[in-house]
């Protein structure tokens, strides 16, 4: 048993996954929505936890899992009706199971009777099954066979074994059974070949032999019977205990002619599939050559059954299909870092090569071009290893919604879409917190009570729609509800009261909505039961923006509100355009760039308030002078002599960034500015260019925001306050 202790960790890891599968399935289970596959998956999850638990002797856990499994089995066979109450009970059962696992893991004992209420509830749901559950042994069944040899005195036992003719068809092989007997003591084995038909009538796959074994053993009769456990119902097995008396040979009466003896040690293993040998075991070898292997050519057929692609999937199902391996995350991270360094080196080489005289070194250049291509592909492959569907995060939300619904007395239906959208693992991990808060906000503040909804002519249950999609090289996650929308007068009033907005200031609807993200707006007066801490939306926004992400809210009074969160697909590498402004170089994410152009003086138009616009692609675009925004000396500062890079934010806003030069496109490794310093406005992160110098990666939406605030005086007041607050 001790040998198996080393698998405990595997068991706990795996059980964690099973619990998640069960929970995800249970949260989708509802009266009238019983997906048999899903029910089976839940059953299997509980079943597997129980099975493994038994191996480690976790009796309480096994006993409870058995109750749980019994009800799931009832659901599976439709003998237990799926009611809302049942689903609740099952979810509680899953929690209890999780706790029991934790106790088993920590080696602690749960409080006596702590599972009882749930056991009672489980049994109430399956009264017919309860008795069976009570009877069925949940503790490990006795299985003592070879273990401790019982203390029975050595004696002689004869075993007559007359197998059914088609015994071989069940995969049993008398050779091995006889050999198993020899493990119990000293055996003398006689084979009776009297049943052999003539050659013409011999069916190669049938068995015509029978055996008499004289066993001198101290084993219990039960152990001897146990050898024939699998064949006893279709064969004649006669075991006679002759006691310690002298060996009394009981020859086979039916055996005419000489029955060749096979000493125990003479039993040779027989190659499987070579039926002739087996069937004729004991017969003179010369006869065996007659029969050739009856049916070969099976491998091809087995191969022809195509390996169906596994339907791994929703909710981080542990059965990850046919050909998956588990890799330590550190190893992948090391690989990612290495590829990162390689990208830098490749950029460095490319930079040096640029200075070579043109026309020469053609092969070198081509080789480098290929290298660049391969580096890019390598990077993509490596990054795809870390890509995960957001479903692992989404699957946690139904529970949150359920709990929030019951806490606030609101009926909530959660609809999710785009769960299979993939993003880098680093991003997935960072989604949980903001999502939790967005959903909490929607249910807490957005959705009305059922009464209010009915009075407003809406369906009783509110809907929260959680969706994910890729958009402009980012992942965009939305939480939309059909509630009352943001109460703007109230928000404005609160903001004024808290001194975040000067009284009498005119704010647009959007600006009012976004006040909920301003530090100091949310007072976090009540600590939520859900996440255990009351964190305001300002903290959410700050955390999101520290990841190069953005969060915003859109609201329509009476119709609902929509939180939109966008994050980069990876927090490791990006495709960028290197630009220069004065002596400084910056990287613009390629996903933001529409085009770059050099306007003629006539294309530039001055707008009031010293703002320049140009006509690009049929619309007027505001120019933002990067050297002004960042205070960089020595820049051209003239769009007609430098360049305008037309950029777009993921919410569709466009602006023209005025820069000196565009130096080229390059993959850059994203390096954190914050790990040793802090976040800066308009800067998403930093990177190291080919010459080893640092360049800042620009945050286009951040630049847009900065430029707006530099221009419009009115909303500035509250933003200044927010900047100050966040800097403290």
């Amino acid at each position: 048993m001790e040998d198996l202790q080393q698998f405990k960790q595997t068991y706990f890891d795996e059980s964690g996954e099973f619990l998640a599968v069960a929970e995800a399935g249970l949260l989708r289970l509802a009266p009238g929505n019983v997906d048999l596959d899903e029910v089976n998956a839940i059953f299997r999850a509980v079943h597997s936890i129980k099975g493994g638990g038994g191996a480690f002797g976790f009796t309480e856990l096994v006993a409870f899992a058995h109750e749980f499994e019994t009800v799931m089995d009832g659901v599976r066979s439709s003998t237990v009706a799926v009611t809302a109450e049942l689903v609740d009970t099952l979810i509680r059962a899953n929690d209890v199971l999780a706790q029991l696992l934790t106790h088993a893991h920590d080696g602690t004992k749960p409080a006596p009777g702590f599972a009882d209420p749930v056991v009672v509830a489980l049994r109430r749901h399956a009264p017919l099954l309860a008795d069976a559950a009570a009877e069925s042994p949940a503790s490990p069944s006795p299985s003592a066979a070879g273990a401790a040899r019982p203390q029975t005195a050595a004696r002689v036992v004869t075993v007559r074994f007359q197998p059914k003719a088609d015994l071989l068809m069940s995969g049993n092989d008398p050779t091995y059974l006889l050999r198993a007997l020899t493990h119990l003591g000293t055996a003398e084995i006689e084979c009776d070949v009297g049943g052999l038909p003539t050659l013409a009538h011999l069916e190669p796959e049938l068995l015509y032999l029978q055996w008499l074994v004289t066993l001198t053993t101290d084993a219990r009769l039960a152990d001897i019977q146990d050898v024939f456990e699998f064949v006893s119902d279709e064969s004649l097995v006669q075991i006679t205990d002759h006691g310690t008396a002298a060996v009394s040979r009981a020859p086979l009466t039916e055996s005419p002619g000489g029955s060749p003896k096979i000493g125990a040690t003479d039993l040779t293993p027989v190659t499987r599939g070579d039926l002739n040998t087996v069937a004729a075991a004991g017969a003179p070898p010369s006869q065996l050559t007659v029969y050739d292997s009856p049916a070969p050519a099976a491998a091809a057929e087995a191969k022809a059954t195509p390996g169906k692609p596994s339907t791994a999937g929703e909710g981080g199902h542990p059965n990850l299909g046919n050909h998956t391996i588990r890799v330590d995350l550190d190893k992948i991270d090391r690989l990612v870092n290495m590829v990162g360094e390689m990208v830098i080196t490749q950029a460095m080489v490319a930079e040096h090569v640029r200075d070579l005289p043109p026309g020469q070194f053609q092969e070198l250049l081509e080789g480098l071009e290929q290298l660049a291509q391969h580096t890019r592909e390598l990077r993509e492959s490596v990054m795809s290893i870390r890509a995960q569907p957001v479903s692992s995060v989404f699957s946690r939300m139904p529970r949150l919604v359920r709990e929030l619904g019951s806490e606030t007395g609101k009926d909530v239906v959660l609809v999710t879409s785009g769960e299979n959208t993939e993003v880098d693992k680093t991003v997935v991990e960072n989604l949980v917190d903001p999502l939790t808060h967005m959903i909490r906000n929607s249910i807490d503040h957005g959705l009305e009570t059922p009464e209010e909804r009915i009075a407003a002519g809406k369906p009783r249950a509110g809907t929260v729609h959680l969706s994910a999609q890729h958009r402009s090289g980012r992942i965009v996650i939305e939480v939309a509800d059909d509630g009352r929308g943001i109460d703007r007068p109230k928000v404005l009033q609160t903001a004024v009261r808290r001194g975040l907005v000067q009284p009498g200031v005119n704010l647009s609807d959007e600006e009012i909505d976004n006040l909920i993200f301003v530090p100091g707006f949310s007072t976090a007066d009540k600590v939520s039961n859900i996440s255990g801490r009351g964190v305001g939306m300002d903290v959410v926004r700050r955390n999101v923006s520290s990841l190069g992400g953005r969060i915003g809210v859109y609201s329509a009074p009476g119709q609902g509100s929509r939180f939109v969160l966008s994050l980069p697909l990876t927090l490791a590498v990006l495709d960028g355009m290197v630009i220069s402004v004065g002596p400084e170089r910056f990287v613009l994410p390629l996903t933001n760039i529409v085009e770059s152009l050099r306007p003629k003086p006539a294309d530039l138009h001055g707008l009031v308030n010293k703002c320049d616009v140009i006509m690009a692609r049929g619309e007027y675009v505001r120019l933002v002078y990067l050297h002004q925004l960042f205070g960089i000396p020595g820049a051209t500062g003239d769009a007609t002599r430098g360049l305008v890079v037309l950029v777009e934010t993921e919410d569709g806003g466009r602006l023209g960034l005025v820069v000196d030069e565009v130096l080229g496109q390059q993959q850059v490794v994203i390096k954190s500015l914050e790990s040793n310093y802090r976040r800066l406005d308009g800067v998403a992160a930093a990177t190291i260019l080919g010459d080893g110098r640092v360049a800042l990666i620009l945050d286009v939406a951040g630049l847009q925001e900065m430029s707006q605030h530099a221009r419009t005086p009115a909303p500035r007041q509250y933003t200044d306050a927010s900047i100050q607050l966040s800097a403290l």
Binding site: L4, S48, L168, K303, K308, S310, P318
Partner: protein, 121 residues
């Protein structure tokens, strides 16, 4: 020649335990997650024994046993099914499908080895 055993179970814990125990007893062990996967594995390598869990996603144990029995090459290969309780109904179903025998979970290593020896030496 080492005997080769295929353990088919959707539980990694079970697979690893079976594998560890049998490797210790001198068997070669290959693993599969479910019945479908087992067929793929069996298509490319021949084994002397299959130990299959009954409850598995994609393709369950009974279906796997039936498919193997319908495949000439595996018509008489020993197949042990893993069951959680000493459930006679399950055993009967398994026997009808063509299982050679069964192992009741949880098993101790000695029991597993002795059962395996009984059916494949």
């Amino acid at each position: 020649m080492k005997k080769k055993v295929l353990t088919v179970d959707d539980s990694r814990t079970m697979r690893e335990m079976v594998s560890f125990t049998l490797k210790g007893a001198g068997y070669e062990v290959v693993e599969a997650n479910d019945g479908q996967h087992a067929l793929t594995v069996l298509g490319s390598s021949k084994v002397d024994l299959v130990i299959a869990d009954l409850n598995m996603p994609i393709m369950d144990g009974l279906t796997l046993i039936r498919k193997l029995r319908a495949t000439p090459q595996y018509r008489t290969t020993p197949i042990l099914m893993l069951t959680t309780e000493a459930d006679d109904k399950k055993k009967a179903e398994g026997r009808a499908a063509g299982a050679t025998g069964w192992i009741v979970k949880p098993f101790d290593p000695g029991k597993l080895i002795s059962v395996v020896q009984k059916v494949c030496g």
